[in-house]
């Protein structure tokens, strides 16, 4: 089943909302965005505005993008590579 889904994706049949997940992952390293509201809320809760994740590390994002390019996943979407 998984192989069929992967094949369908390669043939362009993946639903658009799923492709958006791929796009977000490639562009930020994360599925969900850290919005201005999130940052404000995190500060109010005593947390760092942006956690020390890929979102705050160009080098980490570069690694994720390299893996996605090598495996071919990045070719599944039309997206510009995030330049550092």
């Amino acid at each position: 089943m998984l192989a069929l889904r992967n094949l369908a994706t390669k043939e362009g049949y993946a639903p658009a909302p799923l492709k958006n997940v791929l796009k977000a992952l490639f562009e930020t390293g994360h599925e969900f965005p850290f919005t201005g509201y999130t940052r404000k809320l995190r500060r109010e809760l005593g947390l760092s505005e942006i956690p020390p994740l890929t979102i705050s590390s160009p080098k980490a994002l570069e690694e994720v993008q390299k893996l996605m390019k090598t495996t071919g996943a990045s070719h599944l979407l039309k997206s510009s590579e995030v330049k550092n």
């Binding site: 998984l2 192989a3 889904r5 992967n6 994706t9 993946a14 639903p15 909302p17 799923l18 492709k19 997940v21 791929l22 992952l25 390293g29 994360h30 599925e31 969900f32 965005p33 850290f34 919005t35 999130t38 809320l41 995190r42 809760l45 005593g46 947390l47 956690p51 020390p52 994740l53 890929t54 590390s57 080098k59 980490a60 994002l61 690694e63 994720v64 390299k66 893996l67 996605m68 090598t70 495996t71 071919g72 996943a73 599944l76």
Partner: protein
């Protein structure tokens, strides 16, 4: 601690109270620096398995560098990281292919750590310690536990709980003085996993579950999964509107329930940030 995306980006109050609760129970957490999305155990794996595995392996390698096991708050992250860890530990061919990919970013997977969900950590702390720490027994709560799909299945890999009759959450509920409530559709998916591709079916599944809960004495819901949390907390409103019914169950993430029992204020727990009002059970 592997933060994931959903909790730090959408539910940071769960991150905050989880750290406080674990600290009070004697467990210090440290974020895994530079971690990315786990990635998603349903969407990303369905789109491209190789990419899913490679990114998961990178996250595992970051934890391996710290020498510590991974603690996750999210059942989705737990599912991805546990399955990837298992696949790579016991399939040398896959491990070789993934390590070839990781070598291009100067990383590698060796398979020396384990992945744990916060629910397991709380269970392992144990009844005696938890009961000693409880300052406000939650005697007024009759709690329906929703385990969700990703914490318990596939049980042969995850080894967390009985996949058909899970009991961990009910045990924790009783340790904080609340009453666990059993119900027929406990193992039914909340529906959130299909929301992106079939919003109608998503709400129908949730309605079936909520309607079943309404037949019981439950006055709130607890879950160990942030996706299920959002589905219940926000989805009740949508189900009520769509079907002309009324569902207003207060919803707790597992460490929120513990936080209240350990004496943290409703504001510290973040109850004011819930969509479904929770005043009735404070």
């Amino acid at each position: 601690m592997f933060l994931g995306c959903l909790i730090p980006a959408r539910l940071p109050h769960i991150e905050a109270i989880s750290i406080k609760v674990l600290d009070k129970l004697g467990i210090k957490t440290k974020d895994i620096i530079d971690a990315s999305c786990c990635p998603d155990p349903v969407v990303m794996k369905s789109l491209d398995f190789n990419s899913w595995l490679a990114i998961a392996a990178r996250n595992l390698s970051l934890a391996e560098e710290t020498g510590s096991d991974i603690l996750t708050l999210c059942s989705g992250c737990f599912s991805t990281l546990s399955k990837a860890n298992h696949l790579l530990k016991y399939n040398d061919e896959l491990k070789g292919e993934v390590n070839k990919l990781l070598s291009e970013i100067n990383r590698g997977f060796s398979g020396k750590i384990n992945v744990k969900h916060v629910t397991e950590i709380i269970r392992d702390i144990g009844k005696e310690t938890i009961e000693q720490q409880v300052q406000k027994p939650l005697k007024h709560l009759k709690v329906a536990s929703h385990p969700g799909c990703h914490l318990v299945r596939p049980s042969k890999i995850l080894h967390v709980d009985d996949p058909n009759v899970p009991t961990i959450q009910d045990e924790i509920v009783s340790w904080v003085g609340a009453k666990p409530v059993s119900y027929a559709l406990k193992m039914l998916c909340c529906g959130v996993g299909i929301k992106m591709v079939d919003p109608e079916a998503n709400l129908s599944l949730l309605r079936e579950k909520l309607a079943n809960l309404k037949e019981t004495e439950a006055n709130c819901i607890v879950t160990p999964c942030p996706f299920c949390f959002i589905q219940f907390d926000k989805g009740q409103k949508e189900v009520s509107r769509k079907f002309g019914e009324s569902y207003t169950f207060p919803v707790f993430y597992i460490t929120e329930l513990l936080g209240l029992a350990l004496g943290f204020s409703p504001e510290e727990v973040g109850l004011h940030l819930h969509t479904t009002p929770i005043k009735e059970v404070e």
